[in-house]
Every structure is written in structure tokens, then in C-alpha cells.
């Protein structure tokens, strides 16, 4: 199901854990779709000095988190802002089409953590709890039917090709 790179990051994930004195935290996803990710950042002089992650999710989700932190570590905030989900999937040398949605969490969580860091810096009022964003597909990214793997429009509730309903059944 997964290639060697993905399996390596799954079996030996890099940068697992929390940062006690993190100055940027981003949490995305929700257990409803089976993926949740928290990114902890320690940013010094506008550079990501340290980055750690925690993930509740499948093989893809864990591999994506691991690869993302590996890409982001040591980058400047400006550079990190440019990292996309596609970058992560590319670095992993590809994910099965119906697992690409798992990869969406990675960069989302990073950007949220950076946003958190900037909010704190500018003295913006932070909510008591860490802001958790509802897991959504990144705009413009392709979706794939989980049954027949054909490309479908994002947010579709019906797959024309295999006549499957993509809505909640009960």
C-alpha cells in the first residue's frame, strides 16, 4: 500500500513529542475522519529552531507529520509559510490517491502554528485552549472517490463513475 519512504517515516517518525516552551502551537483535524495533528514550534530569530508533532491517524498521517517536521525544521518563518501539502506528498514520493486527504493536515497544522506564533508576538488575544480548526480540504486540491479512485470534485456527495454516495449513510 505504501512506498518505502512512507513506511520509513511511519516506522521511525522524526520529531515526535511536545515542546514545553513552544511559542507556536497548531492543532488540526478531528477524530470524525480519523486524523488529528498538533504541531509545536520553537521559533527563535524568525527561524524554526525546533519542531515537534503529535498525530492521531493512519500510516499516511503519521508519515506526513514526520516528513513535514523534517522539511520545516531549520527554515525561516517566511520559508515555512510556503510549504504546501503537495511538497510533503512529493517528499514522500507519493501517497495512494485515496490517502491524499490524510496529507492535508500536515501543512495546515504548520501554518496554524505559525499563525499562533505571530498572534502571540503581536499581542493578539489568544483563546484559553489551543485553536482547533475543523479539518477541511485545501482549496483547489483534487479529491478522489474512496471507492473507485477516480478524481472527483471537492465536496462532492455523489460519484458519477461508480454511483456511490459519499454522504453520511445513517
Amino acid at each position: 500500500m505504501y512506498n518505502k519512504v512512507v513506511m520509513d517515516h511511519f516506522r521511525n517518525p522524526r520529531n515526535v513529542g511536545v515542546i514545553e516552551q513552544a511559542n507556536g502551537i497548531g492543532e488540526v483535524g478531528n477524530p470524525l475522519c480519523g486524523d488529528m495533528m498538533t504541531i509545536y514550534l520553537k521559533i527563535t530569530d524568525e527561524k524554526i529552531e525546533d519542531i515537534k508533532f503529535q498525530t492521531f491517524g493512519c500510516g499516511s498521517a503519521i508519515a506526513v507529520s514526520s516528513m513535514l517536521t523534517e522539511i520545516a525544521k531549520g527554515k525561516t518563518v517566511a520559508e515555512a509559510k510556503k510549504i504546501t501539502n503537495k511538497d510533503v506528498a512529493k517528499a514522500l514520493e507519493g501517497l495512494p490517491k485515496n490517502k491524499l486527504h490524510c496529507s492535508n493536515l500536515g501543512a495546515d497544522a504548520l501554518h496554524l502554528a505559525i499563525q499562533d506564533y505571530e498572534d502571540r508576538k503581536s499581542g493578539k488575544k489568544r483563546p484559553e485552549e489551543v485553536r482547533a480548526e475543523k479539518h477541511e480540504h485545501v482549496h483547489g486540491e483534487s479529491c478522489y472517490c474512496p471507492y473507485c479512485d477516480i478524481e472527483i470534485k471537492e465536496g462532492s456527495t455523489f460519484c458519477e463513475a461508480c454511483h456511490s454516495s459519499l454522504e453520511e449513510e445513517h
Binding site: 505504501y2 516506522r11 478531528n30 470524525l32 480519523g34 488529528m36 498525530t55 493512519c58 474512496p146 471507492y147
Partner: protein, 391 residues
């Protein structure tokens, strides 16, 4: 390296007798059972021998009540669509449950688009249907009740006999998906009182891709496949004789050993349930304590996701199944587990373990040791466990 197969519900190994019978059949080069000449007769004889054997396994009154096909899914499709079509004049209402296999759910959805109506009864937190709710759901328009005998995700067994009493009284056809039950627990269609029963050979150590539908004599049902007059004009198409011969042999051998094998599986199941708390905490058992298959355990391990568990155990050469959204290819948690009242998060961490006659107590222990390590590793990575351990 030998793989410990704790996913026997997906595939069981063939019995040695089955292999021998199928190889023998291959070498005999059987002709088409429908052919009227000598060569056809030998094939027809082999076909009917298998039919008798399968009929005995489920205690059908007559062998011809067993209709061979490509397996459980076809049986379910035939039962549901065949009854719907044949009884459309009488009514278009069907009663089912919230925890059926996708073959039932999607067949019903297909019928819905053609104007049929459904009522789906709910289950309690251990996945059991209340027969009274089925009775309440039946109307004058109801032509079919379809409730599975055992659930493929939880192993829980339904009160089929009680439901059959109701359907007989109300004169409604009763189909049960017994794919995971036949060959695992004693099935007696006379005692059960069902009109239609779906089964598949692999559950009783026969080949995959072959199974059958029990159709009680007198049941109003159209064929699913139209064409020739095979299977008493109930299922067109030249029969998969090799598979059927394998199935017939599997049925005969299983019938002799069913009680013994079921007892063995039950001892493994009990061992697992008894020892599990010594290895992991924060888990839920979804399988009914009393009314369930002797060879199945569904457990939801909290704070982690099922596919990751499955992959890590796979690395240890242990095969298990999971019902997480990612692993099943759907984008959502199992409808069965949600019907039990599980939270989405807990549903994602569900493992389904199923045993067969060849599994051993040592294998269960090996699994538990591996599971402990895997769960510890994944919980260390999980933000949900982090939250809980912080209190």
C-alpha cells in the same frame, strides 16, 4: 516467516480435504453439468453430491433448496432484489437493521432509487436488534425483512428465531445474511424459521468466490441472473463446478468437526479477553458477551487509529483487520460501530480479530505482546492520549 492470521474472517485456509477434492476435480476434467450426454452426467452427479453436503450443513429440507452462486454478496443481492421484484404487486416496503453488511445496504439503496421504501431498526450498545422493534416496523406493505445472523464487524449474533416467529405470523419473507455464521456455529434453517439464508464457502474453509443462497420451497423470488435454467431456474449460468466441489467437501468435513472447532476458537477468544487487561488499558469490547460468534472479537483501542495498528502488527507478521475510515477506504467511521454508540474517535481505533481452527494459544500470546508494544508506541505519538494522561 509464518504469518499469524488473526484475520480469518477475511480468508480462511483451505482444508487439506478440500484441496485434494479440487485437484481431483481438475484432473477429472469435468464437463458441463447441464449437458445431457455421459460427460455431462458425471459433472451433474458431482454437483448434486456437493449440493446434498451443503444442504446437510444447514439442515435444509431438500438439497434443491440450496442454490449455488459466486458467494455471499451475490446471495444477498439475489435475496433482496429477487424478493423485491417478485413481490412488488404486494408491496414495496422492506425492514432491515442499522448494522447490515454493505451488500444489504447498497442493494436496498438501489431499490430505494426504484421506489421501494425501507425501515431500518436500531441496535442496542452491543449491537443486538430488539425483535419487538422489527414487529413494530412491519406494515401491510412489507414484503421482506432482512436481518443478518452474525455481524462481520462485531461478531454479535441476532435473535433470528424470535424474529422469524414474527415474520411467519405476519406472512413476510425473512432473509438472513449468515455468511460469517455457517460453518462456524450450528445453523439449522428448520429451527431458525428463515425463508432465505446467504452463505459463503470460505467461512467453512472452502474456496473463496463461491457460496449459496438457501431458498425455502415456496418462497416468491425472481432470479438475480437471467439466462439458462441452471439451479432449478433460480440462478442462470454454468456453475463454478470446481469451487462448488470444494465447497461440498468443506461442508462435509466442517459438519463433522464444527463443535470441536468452535470450542477451540472460543477458548482462544476467552484467552484473549481474559488476558487483554494485562497488556493494554483504555479499550472497549464491542462484541456481545453471550450472543456472538465463538471466533470473533471486536475491540476499540482508544486514542489511536486502526490502520497504524494494523501496519505495525503487519511488520511483526501478525495479520489483523481494522474498521477505521482510512483502512476501509471510506471517508468515515464504520456505520456498524456508530450504531453501537461508539464515538467516532473510538470507532477509528477498532481492531477486528477472528480466529480459525489452526490458530493456537501461543499465537494469541504473541499477538498480545506485540499489541502492547504497538499501542504504547502509537499512544506516545497521539495527541489524544497526551490529553488524557495529563488529566
Amino acid at each position: 516467516m509464518k504469518i499469524i492470521n488473526l484475520d480469518q474472517i477475511s480468508s480462511k485456509p483451505l482444508l487439506p480435504e478440500v484441496k485434494a477434492a479440487m485437484i481431483d476435480a481438475i484432473n477429472k476434467d469435468y464437463h458441463n453439468p447441464s449437458s445431457q450426454h455421459k460427460s455431462g452426467e458425471a459433472a451433474a452427479e458431482a454437483l448434486e453430491k456437493a449440493r446434498k453436503s451443503v444442504a446437510e450443513l444447514i439442515n435444509a429440507a431438500m438439497p434443491k433448496e440450496v442454490v449455488f452462486n459466486s458467494g455471499g454478496t451475490e446471495s444477498v443481492n439475489h435475496a433482496i432484489k429477487g424478493v423485491a421484484m417478485a413481490n412488488a404487486e404486494k408491496g414495496k416496503h422492506i425492514v432491515t437493521s442499522n448494522i447490515e453488511h454493505n451488500a444489504v445496504i447498497r442493494s436496498l439503496k438501489r431499490l430505494q432509487s426504484l421506489g421501494y421504501k425501507m425501515t431500518s431498526v436500531s441496535v442496542d450498545e452491543k449491537g443486538r436488534v430488539n425483535p419487538q422493534e422489527v414487529a413494530d416496523a412491519i406494515t401491510d406493505e412489507t414484503i421482506l425483512v432482512s436481518i443478518m445472523h452474525s455481524n462481520n464487524e462485531t461478531g454479535t449474533i441476532q435473535p433470528i428465531e424470535e424474529i422469524a416467529k414474527i415474520t411467519r405470523e405476519r406472512k413476510v419473507i425473512f432473509h438472513t445474511d449468515a455468511v460469517d455464521s455457517v460453518g462456524m456455529v450450528p445453523i439449522d434453517v428448520q429451527k431458525m424459521g428463515v425463508d432465505l439464508l446467504s452463505f459463503a464457502a470460505n467461512t467453512f474453509y472452502g474456496p473463496t468466490g463461491v457460496g449459496g443462497l438457501y431458498i425455502r420451497r415456496g418462497t416468491r423470488i425472481f432470479p438475480l441472473l437471467d439466462g439458462g435454467v441452471q439451479e432449478g431456474n433460480k440462478r442462470a449460468g454454468t456453475e463454478n463446478l470446481l469451487g462448488i466441489i470444494g465447497m461440498g467437501t468443506a461442508a462435509a468435513v466442517t459438519r463433522q468437526n464444527l463443535d470441536k472447532w468452535a470450542a477451540h476458537c472460543l477458548s482462544l477468544k476467552n484467552q484473549l479477553l481474559r488476558e487483554l487487561p494485562n497488556y493494554i488499558d483504555h479499550y472497549l469490547i464491542n462484541t456481545h458477551a453471550e450472543h456472538s460468534l465463538p471466533n470473533m472479537v471486536s475491540m476499540s483501542v482508544q486514542f489511536i487509529e486502526g490502520e497504524s495498528v494494523m501496519l505495525m502488527l503487519d511488520d511483526e507478521d501478525i495479520a489483523v483487520s481494522t474498521r477505521s475510515a482510512c483502512a476501509t477506504g471510506s471517508l468515515r467511521a464504520s456505520h456498524v460501530l456508530i450504531s453501537l454508540g461508539l464515538s467516532h474517535a473510538d470507532a477509528q481505533g477498532t481492531l477486528v480479530l477472528s480466529f480459525g481452527k489452526d490458530n493456537t494459544a501461543e499465537e494469541i500470546t504473541t499477538f498480545l505482546v506485540a499489541l502492547k508494544n504497538v499501542v504504547t508506541t502509537l499512544r506516545d505519538i497521539s495527541p489524544l492520549y497526551q490529553k488524557v494522561s495529563q488529566g
